[in-house]
């Protein structure tokens, strides 16, 4: 399976990474080399094999559903590129 520039542009859009049109051909070449390498997996007989969900057999622990943390607004906002009046600020989302 190989991909073309339209698909590469769509993937870039889905990944929210701006890729200039001029950069697409090189990206397509890289993608197709990597996908070609991955294609080897088609040689493996996976009939009846479960997809791995956890590499070590363990059950996730449970805990009481209670608030154990919070009241750290200043700390949470301290690294924001733009924070105003106790909120993260972003460009206008809706007109």
């Amino acid at each position: 399976m190989s991909i073309d520039e339209t698909t590469a542009a769509r993937v870039a859009k889905l990944a929210r990474i701006k890729v200039e049109d001029a950069a697409l051909p090189a990206l397509v070449t890289d993608f197709n080399r990597i996908l070609g390498f991955i294609e080897q997996l088609n040689e493996v007989d996976i009939d009846g094999v479960e997809p791995m969900t956890s590499v070590t057999p363990q059950r996730l622990k449970r805990r009481d559903d209670v608030v154990t943390d919070g009241n750290q607004q200043d700390k949470i906002l301290s690294n924001a590129p733009d924070a105003r009046e106790g909120f993260f600020a972003v460009p206008k989302v809706m007109e």
């Binding site: 399976m1 991909i3 698909t7 590469a8 993937v11 870039a12 889905l14 990944a15 929210r16 990474i17 701006k18 890729v19 990206l27 890289d30 993608f31 080399r33 990597i34 996908l35 390498f37 991955i38 294609e39 080897q40 997996l41 088609n42 040689e43 493996v44 996976i46 094999v49 479960e50 997809p51 791995m52 969900t53 956890s54 590499v55 070590t56 363990q58 996730l60 622990k61 805990r63 750290q72 700390k75 949470i76 301290s78 690294n79 924001a80 590129p81 733009d82 993260f88 972003v90 460009p91 206008k92 989302v93």
Partner: protein, 495 residues
């Protein structure tokens, strides 16, 4: 005492306890070595004042007879670990200016044990790379050179700064992380010891995530004893990481007897690759002989799905990375692109991520996005997870047959030149992890031990792979190998 920065952890600990030196002296020796080693570009954020404060506190505790296990020992910390109030960028532009409000569990465990942090260490961006060439800080440089040739070599990656720093005696030891080989490959390239423990041994909390089902932290040290000592401190159950194992952590150092009589060591036939340099092949044979001479029995084994580990990894790791790196959106921390008139939130995301991520990270995020996208999820992601099940089963089968540890080469070559792979296709770089990546996919512990040098004088390492949760036994086998190999060479100082 002179050249205090050249000590290992255990030697320095013993010297401190005897009163032969102080943590301030050890720390000052390391800080001087770091200042003189700018050419290696290993330390990218230095914290000398913090280090000396911590060293003075450690000396007070030692004097008061209240010294925890690693009291006063100066370490370097990989930039992937969030360290409170100290830049933690994961080698990426997108985390420029980020000052964590919290400390990762592993680095906190080390601080609780009395260690001193000298600063943060260079690495490939988001731990994606095998040569440290994807770092926003520029290349870290291997202290080793080929004979008298002054060509700069890679220290490996992604924990390249950690490897260079330990090898050049800029610190006593360093933390690393390993998703596909990022502790073991750089350790092999620089003649040091590096262990990736069983998945779940070290908490991932506060370690910038790359591929969460594969990432593990571990120590990079000057000896197996040091690795055992530091791993004991780094490990432990953490309620803040749901995949952290709630298991007792033994004193790994106390398990080093060097006695491996009767142990069964597996030699996997699939690790004999076409085109592998003869010197690596010879080293592997020598290592096998050393373990046999130490009383182990050598068994030929088969791990039939080995060939499919790298392709499976290059589906699973990018898939997880595309999901984990979605958080870098220019809103909560780090870099945000300057926006043009009329740019909305989507343009903010797209420009921020295009500016903030380097080419290799962008490539992997997009590959991950593709393999997880509608219509391809089964063909790529689910298939890779099924193959991963088979790779793990290969190991379970040999351990069930009584194998105690598996011996393989650590890397398919010795360190290569910085820039040598610039024009190669990405797959060539990925092949560096061919012997190590199986271990991450199976969640097993693996250790790289320096065993010999090639004809140009570069160090070469062998890897031992152990049973899950049996790091103590694995370290003991590594200890026997280290003793038999007697690797003591150090890089000649040129920097």
């Amino acid at each position: 005492m002179s050249d205090l920065n050249k000590l290992g952890l255990a030697q320095a600990r013993d010297a401190l306890r005897k009163g032969d030196t102080t943590s301030v002296e050890l720390t000052a020796a390391c800080l001087s070595a770091i200042e003189a080693a700018g050419a290696l570009n290993a330390f990218v954020h230095k914290t000398p004042e913090l280090a000396l404060d911590q060293a003075r506190a450690a000396d007070a505790r030692i004097a008061a007879g209240d010294a925890p296990a690693m009291c006063g020992l100066p370490l370097g910390i990989k930039d992937l670990f969030c360290t409170k109030g100290v830049p933690s960028q994961a080698g990426s532009r997108i985390l420029e200016g980020f000052l964590p409000e919290y400390e990762s569990t592993v680095s906190q465990n080390l601080l609780d044990a009395g260690t001193v942090m000298l600063g943060k260490l260079n690495m490939d961006e988001f731990a994606m790379g095998s040569s440290n060439e994807t770092s926003v800080y520029g290349n870290a440089v291997n202290p080793w050179r080929r004979g008298n040739d002054d060509a700069a070599l890679t220290p490996g990656g992604s924990s390249g700064g950690s490897a260079a720093a330990v090898s050049a005696d800029l610190c006593l030891a360093a933390t690393g992380t390993d998703t596909g080989g990022s502790i073991r490959q750089p350790a092999a390239f620089t003649g040091i010891v590096g262990i990736k423990p069983t998945y779940g041994r070290c908490s991932r909390w506060g370690v910038v995530a790359f591929a969460s089902s594969l990432d593990q932290a571990g120590p990079m040290t000057k000896s197996v004893r040091d690795a055992a000592m530091m791993l004991t401190t780094m490990c432990g159950h953490d309620p803040k990481d749901s995949t952290s194992a709630d298991l007792a952590v033994p004193d790994f150092e106390a398990m080093l007897t060097g006695d491996i009589k009767g142990k069964q060591i597996g030699i996997p036939r699939e690790y004999r690759m076409d085109g592998m340099p003869e010197e690596i092949e010879t080293l592997w044979t020598q290592g096998t002989d050393m373990l046999r001479d130490a009383g182990a029995s050598i068994v030929d084994i088969t791990l039939p799905h080995t060939k499919y580990a790298l392709p499976a990894y290059y589906v699973i790791a990018p898939a997880e990375a595309s999901s984990n790196l979605a958080r870098y959106d220019g809103v909560r921390y780090g870099h945000r692109a300057t926006l043009g008139q009329g740019d909305g939130i989507t343009e903010m995301y797209e420009k921020t991520r295009a500016e903030g991520f380097g080419p290799e990270v962008q490539r992997r995020v997009m590959i991950g996005t593709y393999v997880l996208s509608a219509g391809f999820y089964d063909a790529y992601y689910n298939r890779a997870r099924r193959v991963r099940t088979l790779i793990k089963k290969d190991f379970e089968n040999v351990f069930a047959d009584g194998i105690d540890a598996i011996l393989t080469p650590a890397t398919p070559s010795a360190a290569f030149g910085l820039g040598d792979m610039t024009d190669a296709d990405p797959i060539q770089m990925y092949l560096n992890d061919v012997f190590t990546v199986t271990v991450n996919l199976a969640g097993l512990p693996g250790i790289s031990v320096p065993v010999g040098q090639d004809k140009q004088g570069l160090p070469m390492g062998l890897q031992l792979i152990g049973r899950p949760w049996d790091e103590g036994d694995l370290l003991n086998t590594a200890y026997a190998l280290e003793g038999a190999a007697g690797f003591v060479a150090k890089p000649g100082k040129w920097w």
